[in-house]
Amino acid sequence: MEHVAIIGNGISGITVARYVRKLSDKRITVISAESRHFFSRTALMYIYMGHMKYEHTKPYEDWFWEKNRIDLIHDYVTEIDTESKRLTLRNGPAVDYDKLVIATGSKSNKFGWPGQDLDGVQGLYSLQDLELMEKNSRDVNHAVIIGGGLIGVEMSEMFHSRGIHTTFLIREPHFWGNIMRPEEGALIGRHLNGHGVELKCNTQLDHVIDDGNGRCRGVVTDQGEELACQFVGLTAGVHPNLDLVKNSAVETGRGVIVNEYLETNVPDVYSAGDCAEIRTNPDERGRVEQLWYTGRMQGEALARTICGERTRYDRGIWFNSAKFYDIEYHTYGVVWPEDREGETSMYWENEAGDKCMRFVFNQEDRCLIGMNAFGIRYRHQVFERWLADNRPLEYVLTHLSEANFDPEFFKHFEADMVDKYNQMNIGPKVTLAKKKKLLGIF
């Protein structure tokens, strides 16, 4: 029986394992040094905040793996020998494979800041990082977070839940500036301020100050300002974890280089998830996708390929989501940090300034290109269909109520958005189509 070995039990590795099992009878082994069982990395923050315990973050009960004949090895792979198709483990016996999946995930970025390795300075990616954070934040009353992005805001929310004050150092002029536009960034910035979080925009870290005992006692910004703190969160992005692969025959660039089928340069060796760099054109820089969703989709596609049905990884219409304290964020399609050539956009914000929408559309044919929603839930499938069908903005606005996904009895803002659109005079007038309600109630 063919043996599929998977290094890494994150969402990508586990999705490969689950789908290989669905599609075949192959022997499957998943090796992880991080945890014995699969858990949801995205839920790490909730463990710290006391919303959940570690066991709640495991999507499958522990018996699931044996029942589905997925062998789990809790060990660290020290060497990949692609010649003899053998993995050397730190503690246990070596593992021979027929097909190998590298899904080793990411590591937090460190940009060579002086003091970045002091105690109390860390990123947040793994279970061990969380453990370290639990230790490092024991007597902390102020934390400085470097980088205004998703992990940063999670870290800030974690500290906030324990009454620890946080200050962000953000390189861009507003929050998550490499992704978000100024209006959205300002909205989130206001919301963070409302929670008592301080944002220092256009500011970068210069160095971390040593307290003399190898622990941080503050930071100095590139503006020369000194901020006292007992914890420094490094959340300026992540990069592929190549510690294991770089000494093997598998080619690496920024990540493990794979083609659209997630195949590496070595036959029978594949890679998926955060650590993979997908090159569609061998001469171009590939793309690294570090999202839960893309990890899952890559895992599904790769499982098919491994089971003999060679499948191109197609991420389909782009989507992503996040939550900034109390404000949920969804994006469908592509919204760049500023309008690209031929694009234009419509922005709407409610009076309270805690919900907003952005529609990016093509100037010429008025087709929707992407949307951002903050504080209002919209249906994924409906927007996916509209984007696939190249619906113009006026069609989208007319039918917007159909896509609303907020719970029953919530206040609706679609009419307000349509009013704003009509006032803007940027296209044919729109009348909002009424959503059919059963007995006029639900």
């Binding site: 949801s40 006391g50 279970l127 453990e131 969804h330 029953e408």
Partner: protein, 447 residues
């Protein structure tokens, strides 16, 4: 990377959440109020008890209103898993034993709360016109009926903790309206109206309007329906019509349109207590597949028992057959299911097994509603495309122990017999993936 798992220190050594001094004072005030109530039983004047009751209520409300300092509206489940009282620590077990013990006393040994029953008797007389304390001709007390006292505390708990639920879920209009609904249903339908109607009816027959057979086991006994029909005038006849129509007409129709939530989390008294008093412990329900298997056996077994028991009683009443079997079944069903299971275990085990032990494992009405909801209903929880991040908040905070995430991460809709439609999975989801919806029956399981 180190060998992890077992040695991981993922919980803080010391609970990092310290209560604000005001909240500490409120807890002390509450405990003092309970002690003053206990003092009444040992001989203190009734007014001491009323003072204790008011102290306990005011302390609770001050604590609840102080929750607004936890930040802007939104889900704030911070520290729940670090709190022993909320996650089966020593305080959780203490509370479980305390509530269970209190229920055993109120249900089976009311003489231990006799003076508390006397204390609230003027209120009972004001509402129903009849005393709960019986006296002989010399005016000496000869017996106590604990049920008004119990109903009074029950309603009070739903009202006070209902304010808490509204405060906690104030970002969600669904939660606010639903909580107001269970508070009003308990106060009026379950507590005041039956007594007031009996008073208008000059004491001829009592009927629990908010409960529907098979949950309303006692109300549906043949002698009771017969008495209501023959001797209790228009109100009595209305009660009989409602008793029958509520289960054969209203229940299937409303459940078809809205799912079992129209009853379980909007009207029902057991559900009302679970959603208010029980809300702080909702996360303690067992989510394992094993628990689900046990649940399906138990709840349907209870349904069979109540059908057999009520049926036997009717056969005996109508045709005088089967001898004493009906009464024997009734005695055991009443003791084991209605008192021990629904009452003592149903509420007493909140801190240990979550707030819906009875609703999930026992309630025959929930079984009936569940069958309709599973096979003949427009209700489902919709999953929003592929946006689930498998974090587990939905499953953790499902009081019915449904592994919501199992469906959500597959992009499947959730169509489960046990779902009471409380909407908390949708509220706690950090990615807005879940929504309670009524829609066409066709394709309701679909992605």
């Amino acid at each position: 990377m180190a060998q992890a798992d077992a040695s991981l220190q993922l919980v803080p050594e010391v609970n990092p959440y310290t209560l604000r001094p005001l909240r500490k004072a409120c807890l002390v005030g509450f405990a003092l109020g309970v002690l003053l109530l206990a003092a009444v039983q040992t001989g203190a004047p009734y007014n001491v008890g009323w003072a204790g009751l008011i102290l306990a209520i005011v302390s609770s409300l001050v604590y609840i209103f102080d929750l607004r300092h936890d930040g802007p509206p939104g889900i704030k489940n911070n520290g729940i898993m670090h709190s022993g009282a909320l996650s089966r620590g020593a305080w959780g077990w203490f509370l479980g034993v305390f509530i269970t013990g209190f229920y055993v006393i109120v249900y089976f040994y009311p003489s231990y709360v006799s003076r508390l029953i006397e204390m609230v008797d003027p209120l009972k007389i004001a509402v129903s016109g009849q005393p709960g304390v019986s006296r002989n001709e010399a005016g000496e007390i000869t017996g106590h009926s604990q049920w008004f006292f119990y109903g009074f505390l029950y309603t009070l708990s739903i009202l006070v903790m209902g304010v808490r639920a509204i405060m906690k879920y104030r970002h969600s209009r669904y939660q606010i309206l639903r909580t107001i609904s269970v508070m009003a249903a308990q106060l009026f339908l379950a507590f005041l109206i039956p007594d007031i109607l009996m008073r208008l009816n000059e004491g001829r027959g009592w009927f629990a309007w908010a409960n529907i057979w098979p949950l309303n086991f006692y109300g549906f006994e043949p002698w009771n329906l017969d008495n209501l029909w023959k001797n209790a005038g228009f109100i009595g006849r209305s009660a009989v019509v409602w008793a029958v129509a509520s289960i054969i007409l209203v229940t299937p129709v409303l459940t078809y349109f809205y799912g079992k939530r129209w009853y379980c989390s909007w009207v029902c008294g057991c559900g009302g207590l679970a959603e208010t008093l029980g809300d702080p412990w909702r996360q303690n329900s067992d989510k394992s597949l094993r628990a689900w298997k046990i649940e399906r056996w138990m709840i349907h077994l209870v349904l069979v028992l109540v059908v057999v028991t009520t049926g036997t009683l009717f056969l005996h009443y109508q045709f005088n057959i089967l001898g004493d079997l009906g009464n024997t079944l009734k005695k055991w069903y009443g003791f084991l299911i209605m008192s021990v299971f629904a009452g003592v275990i149903g509420v007493g085990f909140y801190p240990i097994m979550g707030s819906r032990v009875w609703c999930r494992f026992g309630c025959p009405m929930a079984a009936v509603l569940g069958i309709i909801q599973r096979y003949f209903s427009r209700f489902r929880i919709t999953t929003n495309g592929g946006q689930c991040i498998s974090c587990g908040n939905c499953s953790t905070y499902c009081e019915m122990g449904i592994d919501v995430r199992y469906y959500a991460q597959r992009g499947e809709n959730i169509v489960r017999a046990s779902c009471v439609g409380c909407g908390v999975c949708s509220a706690v989801c950090p990615r807005g993936v879940l929504n309670l919806e009524n829609g066409p029956v066709k394709g309701r399981f679909a992605v």
